[in-house]
Structure formats: C-alpha cells, structure tokens
Symmetry: C5
Subunit: 266 residues, 5 copies
C-alpha cells in the first residue's frame, strides 16, 4: 500500500480548513467553516460533474470509474523484484527439468498473468501465438485502465465547469433582484462557493487521483512487458544468467541488489 | 441501448433547475426559472454556435452531425461476444465443410462487415487483397466517425465562444446607456445568460455527446479489427481452437466465460 | 461548390445583428448598430492581427494566405467518384491496348496530378521512382496547404489577443482620466468593442475558415493517395476488376453505387 | 532577406500607437503616449520574462537565443532552386568525369553542408556511413534550431505571466492603501500596464518571431534533406535526368520552370 | 556547473522586490515588502500545491522530486567532448591490443554507463544483447527523469490552482462579512496574495526548473545514445577513424575542433 495519496488528500483538507479559519488579526474561528458548507452548492457542483461524466460514458464504465478510487490508495499490484525473481526462478527450473516441470511451479504463482503465460508455454503453444495472446491481453489491460482514467479526467474537467455554471446561476439570481444592496456580499459569497468546490474537485481530489492511477497503470504495464519478455526467453530456452541480465536492466540500480539478495536467500 | 447518456443529460437538467429554484432562506421558487429563459439569448448562443459549426464544415457533414445525436443514446452496434462467437462458428464450418460452405452460413449474418469479408474469402480473393480491402473499409469508417466527432467538438467549442460574444454585446449595450443605475443589475443578469447557455452547451450536452461517440467509435473499430483478424485466420485455415484463443484475449476476463457458455449452448 | 461556409458566415452576421438590435422590452432598434461600429477599434484589432500574422510569415506566404479565403467557399477540387472512375477506365485501356495507349487517353484528363503520373508510367519510369515522385509531390501539396492553414490559425489566434490589447489600451486610457464618472460607461463599452471584434475574428470567421480548409485539404490528399495507388496498380498490370474493388473501398457505401452507375453509362 | 517580419513588427507599433493616441471625440493626442510608458513596469515585465527564460536554460543557450532575433529578419539560408541546380550540375560532372572530379567542383560551393557531403563521397566513404553522418548532422542542426525556438517560446509564454504578476503586485499595493479614492483609477491604470506589456511581448514580438524561425527551420531542414537525397543518388551513379526528376518534385510547380531556365543558361 | 538557473532565480527575486518597493512618485519604500508576506497565504499556496503533488505520486517519487531541485543548478553529468574522446580512445586500444585490453582501460573511467558497456563487451556478450541491455538501461534512465519532471510539472500546475483556491476562500470570507467598507481593500489585497504566490511558484520557480531539467535530461540521454553507438562500433571492430567521424557529427561544429585538440594532446 502506498500512503502518498491518502496523506496528500488528508493534508489537503487540513490546508483548506486552515485557510478558512485562520485570520492574522482575529485568530482561529472555526465557526467560519459553516459559511463554506452550502448543501445546494455541493449538489449542483458534484452532482453536475457526475451527471456530465455519466453522459460521457456507459453505465458499466461509469460504475467502474466510481469504484476505482480505492485503486489510487493501493499500491501497484505486483512488484518488479518479485516478478523478475519469479521469471528467473522459472527459467532455472525450465533449464534443469524441462518446460513441462513449469506446470507444477506455476501453481504457486499469485500473478495470474504470468501463470497464464506459463500454461501457454507448457501447452507447447507456438511462440508467435504466445506473444500475440499475451500482447493482446496487455493491450486490453491498458484499455481498461484507459477507461478508468477517462472517468477521472472527465470528472476533473467537469468540476470547474459546473462550478462556473453554479456561480453564473448564483450571479444571475442575485443581479435580477438587486433590491437590497446589503445582500450583495453574502449572495456573491454563496455564488463563489461552487467555483471553489469545482476547483477543489479538480485540484485536490480528481486531478491527483487521475495522475496516480496513470502512473500505477504505467508501472503495471511495464511489469507485464517484463513478464512477456521473460516468458519468451524461457520458451526459447535461453540461459537463465542471460535472462537475468536482460531483465535486471529494467530495474533502477538501487533495486538490483535486492534481486541479488532475494536470489541469494533462495 | 445504453441508458447512461440519456440519464446523465436528464439528471443534468434536474441539477440546473434545482440550482436555480432552490434557496436556503426562501425555499423553492419555480418562478425564478422564467428569468433564466431568454429567447434572444438562446438564439444568439445556439444559433451562433450552429452557424460557426456550419461554416467549418460542408452541408452534408453538418446534417450528418446533427442527425448523429441519436447515436449517443444508442449502444454500440455489434457486440464483442457475438462477433467472436460468429467468427469461431464460421471457422468450424470452414474447417469441416470447406471455405465454400461459408457462403450459406454468411447469409444469416446481420453484421454487414463480416458478411462482406466472408464473401471475399468465398470468392477466393488473395489474402493480401482481403486484408487491404477490409482495412481500407475500416479506415473509411473511422474517417466517417471522425467527421461526426468534429461536428460535436466544434459545437462544444463554439458554445462558450458565442456565449461570450453574447455577453459582450449585452455589456456594451448596457454600458452605452448607463442612465438609470437601477437597470444595471437586471441588464447584466441578462448579459450573463448567454455565457451560462454557452457553458451548458459545452459541458452539459455537446462535450459528453462527443466523448460518448468517441468511445463508441473506438469500440466499433476494435470489433471490426477483431473481425478482420478472424477472417484472415479462417482463410489461412487455422485451427478453430487457436482462433478462439487468439480472439478471446480481446475480451475482458469477465466476458470470456460468456463466450464459452454461448458456445456450450450451441 | 459547397454552400456551407458562405451560408454559415452570412447567418453568423444575422445572429450578431439580431443580438445587438433586439431587446425584449424596447423592441428592435437598428440605431444600436452604430455603437458597435468603431473604426479605430476595427483598425487596431484587424490591423494588429494581420501585422502579427505578417511577422510570423514570409511575404509570399502571407499573400497566399489572404488569397486562400476563396478556397473555403469552393468545394474540394476533384471528386472521389470521378477520380476512381478515371483510374478504372485507364486500367481497362492499359489492359486491352497496352501502357502506351494511355498517353492518348491521358490528354483528355483535367486532373493534372493523374496526368503527370500517367506520363511517368507511359515513359516507362521505374515503379519505385514513380511512387517516389508522386509521393514527394503529395508531401509538397500537403506542405503548401499547411502554410495556408498556418495563416488562418495564426489570424484566429491573434484576433482575441489584439482584441485584449485594444481593451487594455482603452481601459488604461479611461482609468488615467477618471474625472467625469458619467463617461465611464461609454468609455468601457468602447474598450470592450475590440474584445468583441477579436472574438468574432476567431469564432465567426477565421476558425471556421481554417477548419474548412483543413477538411478540404484532407479530402484532396486522400484523393491523390487513391490516384497513386491506382497508378501503381495500372503499371503493375493488375486486373481492372481488382483495382476497382480496391479503390471502391475508399468510398462511403452510399457513393459506391454511383461509381457503378457511371461505369454502366460508359 | 525577407521583409515580412520587420514590416509586421513596425506596422504593429503603428497600430499600438494609433490605438493609444486616437480618440473619435478629442482627436489625436500624442501626449497620451507618456502614460503608456512606465519604466518600472517595463523592468518587471521584460526583466521578469528574461530571468525566467534564463533559469529555464543554460547560459550559452540563453545568449544564442537572444542573438537569434536577427535570424527572423533574414531569409532562409540557401535556396531550393540553387541547391537543386547545384546537385544536378554535380551529378552531371560525376557522370561525365567520375566521382573524383567532384572535388574540384565542390571548392566553389558556398553551401558547407553540400561541400562536406561531396568530400565524403570523393573520399570513397561507404554510402551507409555517408547517409549516417549527414543525417546525424541534420538531427543536430534541427536540435540547435529547437533550442532557439525554446528560447522564444519560453519568452512568449513568460511575457503574459510576468505581466499578470506585475498587475497583481500593483493591485495589492493599491488595495492595501485605499485611502484616497481619487487615486484608484490612475493606480489601476499603471497596474494594468504590465499586463499590456506582457501581452505585447507574446503577440507582437516573441510569438511571431518564434513562428517565423520555426518556418525558416523547416525550410532549411527540407533543403538539407533534398541535398542528402541528391548526394546519395550521385554516389549511386544514378542518371542526372532521373535525379533531376526526383528533386524537382520537391519544388512547387511555379518554381520548377525557374530551375529549367537556370539550367538552360548554364 | 551551470550558473543560468541560479542567476535567473535570484534576478527574478530582484525583479519582484523592485516591482513591489519602487514607486515613481514616492520612491523606494522597503516597508511595502511586509504587506506581501503573509504566512497563512504562504501555507495554503505552497502547502496545498505540495499536498496535491504528493497525492499524485508515491512517497519515494515525491521525495526524489523534492531532492531533484539541486539538479537544476548543476550542469549535465558528463560532457559530449569527453564521452566521444573516451570512446575513440577505447576504440584505438581495442584495435591495437584486442577487446580484452579494454578491461584495464575501463577501470579509470568515471562514466558508469560506459564502464558497464565495456564490461559487457569484454565478457564477450552477444552484440544484440549488449544493445538490448544498454537500451533498456537508457529507457529506465529516461523514465526516472520523467518521474522527476512529472513532480515539477505537477507542482507548477498546482501553484496557480491553489493560489486561486486561496483567493476564493479569501473573497468568500470577505464578502460574507461586508460590514465595514473600509476593510474591503486590505482584505482583497490579502486574498490576491495567494494568486500572486501561485503565479510565482509556476513562473518564477517550478516552470523554469522543469524546463531546465527536461533539457538536461535530453542532453544526458543523447550522450548515452552516442556511447551505445560507439560501444557497438568498437565491438564490431570498426576503424577508429570511422568511429570518430560518426561520433563527431553529433557535436556542433564549434565543438569539433575541441575534440581534435584533446586528441592532439593525448
């Protein structure tokens, strides 16, 4: 699990609350928070953004998008060191005991993608077809991620748009009935709330979630590419040392020793 | 049919009406809605956006664009499971009864694209030429979709632009005759209406329609690509099992069992 | 000729005039139009946009850009059906009477690009060289179009920029001499005029012209690509039926019958 | 030399001055110009933009960027007709008198790039290596141009940014001391000056210079590509007629006759 | 070390301070600086930007991002002249004394990347594998740089966003309690401070740092590409003269003589 997004979002709230309640002259006044919570403004900004995101999508993709927020708070599934160690271990088994021995070894793997690939190799599938199937799978994973990203990008784009729509509605209502000048200030302050909410949707929540999911997706895809490379090398009967050398160059220098240590343990 | 866009657009209207009529202090006042409907403002914003979209295009493309709104409320033509099942079924027939037997099987197909491909295969067309013709068709479909997307993107871009033009005209008219200060408020409120309309055109209607059509187009193109892959495999006389394995990797894991079930039924 | 751009631009003017002169309370007042025409504002906005576009370019490219506005009101040169029919007809001649017979047939062609290609084929030029020369020509046409598009894009971008410059100059002048409060309104209204003009340059005129020219250019390039494909097929002595099948997939289904009819007539 | 940029920039100044001094009611008043010149505003806008551009770059690249403004007022180095004529002439010499005869012919060339290529050919360098070396050179020229463009793009982007910073500083200073309402107007007018300057930096000067340099760079690169194509054809001993045909398709139709004339003269 | 970024950032501060304290009428007043320093505004703008950047990233990438600011003030690691001289020298050794002699020569190299490559060559690794490993390493370096750039780009984007959030909070607070008109000016001036801070984060600090790091990264990658080219040429046993000719075309003409001089010294 990666703490950064959760921490960032919580600290963001702290910043906003601090900005609202703190005043150099009058000190901290928590009661000011109440004037920043306006249920109708919340409904129009968040509701509007969600409805526009809904109409940009299909129902299943929209619901997947909503659910995906938890992915931003989880780390990437899988781990480069583990993936590479697994592939190297499997290549050693294949070298020593033949490709068929991989079947048993694969049953313990948690990584479904690697498992599927091993099964194709064990079945004696043509290397070109193994590559084809695995890469199509990769493309599909990447498309699935893309749909989730589309959800967050759209929401992030719609937040400020509906914030502005809310502010325009508030301003028009206010200007229509300019009877009592003393109400201008409070009315405008309420009108501006939706702009604030929209800006927060984009910059405090959805923008960062989208950026995080995009980075996670890139890492996951990279891991899967390493797996495909490794699988094809195993099938081609390459030397485990050479496979290791090839795969380790995917890691940052600092991570390479870890793989060595892990292997030493085994 | 996919309900998301229709639902999203209707819920969007609910949000806007709610934002206009609801007031924490005075409660719901539906009469306020009247001050948000201004026919001249509607004409200049919607009319202006449409005229600029018209001049960016040719008459046939413009009319096609207008008509395409219904596509956003329909689901994608075709269905991955069905397409793949069809291709697998055809490959079994071809394997058992020869390529010529496909002619009869193809007559029941609803998918015109697959039908045309089968006909080319039955006619004994050269595989390279089959691929060439099918891919040119694909490119042309994608270009036709692109023109429809251009229409919605342009409209979505022109909405806020003409909204601002309307507001500028309103402001200039108002500032010219600043005789009676009591009219400033209402005049400005009318001037701001076009900005509101423009923003709604872009964010409530046209942006989502464009995003939806783009996603639908991508799915349709993907289905056609799967079809071309499958057709060429059939022509090459590949094993139906291998074809199935290849094509199934185009589906999300959850959809794969469905294909299996469908096939079991048959 | 395609009516869309001309119609769109004229209807745009109607919208603007309507927005200016119509008022729900006081009715239509054409005299208001006068306060929207301010020669110095016109000079600074249009003049400024043109000078910035001039300095972004060379003198010949700038003049070509100015002249190209008429292209937006013309349709695309050439027509897919005609081009394809011509190529198919030429391929039949080449098949029946040999490549040399093309020379006579080519003299009647209006399409200079096709004519040049036929001449190269008749001269017995190496197919690779024919492709090379024709494609370089294509690239050059596309670059020439690109320069014209650059002109309109730049003008479209500079309009609002100089509109804002004009408004800033007006505001600064006004704020400098705030002696008589009664002049604020009219002064600001004049200052805002340049912003309005700039917005119209971009959204009513130059943006649409640029979009139209870009679409026309894409169609023209596509036609030329079809021609090159056809020429090389003729030179390779391919069967006219196969050439027809190949080229027809470039057309939308609705247009295909037209080619068939045309050929039937011949 | 190309007059367009110089003319455009000078006419731009004329537009700005006209916009400032002309008033429909009071006529031309050149004294107004003084209120548009404010040294501190100039320093913060231009100085700030330059410092941000400096920190985005290295010292040598920054200085090269500054110096490159003169390139916008020069035409492109080299000329398509001349380059092509030279290559054709050299190919005739090579054909008639052998590759070694090129050495003498090359000594008169002003085009260093062509000269270097000829020298490589005369030295009997391997064609692959000639292409490799010439293309690396091309890439390096294009990278050098890229750095100069980065300078102007950054400056063009930083102008409005620092203009806004200056205006914010002016507004904050003004709002802090709102003692005398009569000073609001003039203070705001000064605050807005930096926004005006920033806008002019971007739209009157740096944007056009950047666009011009980019177009010049594209032409220069294209000329060098033509040269490389020609050189390799000469080395391959291709027929001068064929080389001419190949290279002439790089020219616009109107320019082709000029090459013919030039050659006729020779 | 490259002085440009440090100089630019310091001169930027000078510009800002000058803009604040200088007034044509009242002269320099350093006390004005105090009204531009507001700790709560600093906290909300900088804190908010950092928290959003944190939630867009993982904890290790965020901390690496923070640390990377010093890289903007350092020059690029490595130097084209030195790299090329090293490769040429190594190629001469390899030619004269055989590939194995490179092992000793490599021990003195400071460039880890070149050293690793030489070791692979000395170990008799297959050329394809050498290229594969070195290029994977290159891609990984480039990805690492990309993550650092993401940090600065995000921070640069979030600065103005949180500046606007701060200003909205300030405006809403101010409008809520419009009791005393005399406080409007100072309150608005404080509200605008966060917008100023955000603008400075983006344009004075983070934008330039990001641009600088991007340029440095491009140079470093280019150097590594030159190294890989050189290594493979050495392994292929190419003539040192040819290698030199190849590699020198990566340098600007002005730098080439330096390499010659360096070599002359040796």
């Amino acid at each position: 699990m990666d703490i950064a997004s959760l921490l960032g979002i919580i600290l963001g709230v702290v910043m906003i609350v601090f900005g609202i309640v703190f005043d150099k002259n009058t000190g901290v006044e928590f009661s000011k928070l109440f004037s920043f919570i306006d249920i109708p403004s919340v409904i129009i900004t968040i509701g509007g953004s969600l409805t526009s995101t809904l109409s940009s999508s299909t129902l299943p993709n929209f619901l997947n998008g909503l659910k995906s927020i938890k992915l931003a708070f989880q780390g990437v599934k899988g781990d480069a060191n583990e993936t590479i160690s697994n592939v190297i271990e499997l290549s050693t088994i294949a070298r020593k005991e033949g490709l068929l021995a991989l079947e048993e070894a694969a049953t313990n793997l948690e990584d479904e993608f690697l498992k599927k690939g091993i099964m194709l190799v064990v079945d004696g599938t043509d290397p070109e077809l193994v590559r084809g199937i695995m890469e199509t799978e990769l493309v599909c994973v990447s498309e699935r991620h893309g749909k989730v990203l589309d959800f967050w990008n759209k929401l992030s784009e719609m937040g400020p748009a509906w914030g502005m729509i809310g502010t325009l509605i508030g301003l028009i209502n206010m200007l229509k009935g300019l009877d009592d000048p003393s109400t201008i200030g409070p009315s405008m302050s309420v009108a501006l709330l939706t702009t604030l909410y929209g800006s927060l949707i984009a910059n405090w929540l959805c923008g960062p979630v989208s950026a995080k999911l995009k980075a996670n997706s890139a890492t996951e895809i990279m891991l899967k590419e390493v797996t495909v490379e490794g699988l094809l090398s195993i099938q081609a009967g390459e030397n485990p040392r050479v496979i290791e050398e090839k795969l380790k160059s995917f890691l940052a220098p600092s991570q390479r020793t870890k793989v060595n240590e892990r292997e030493g343990e085994e």
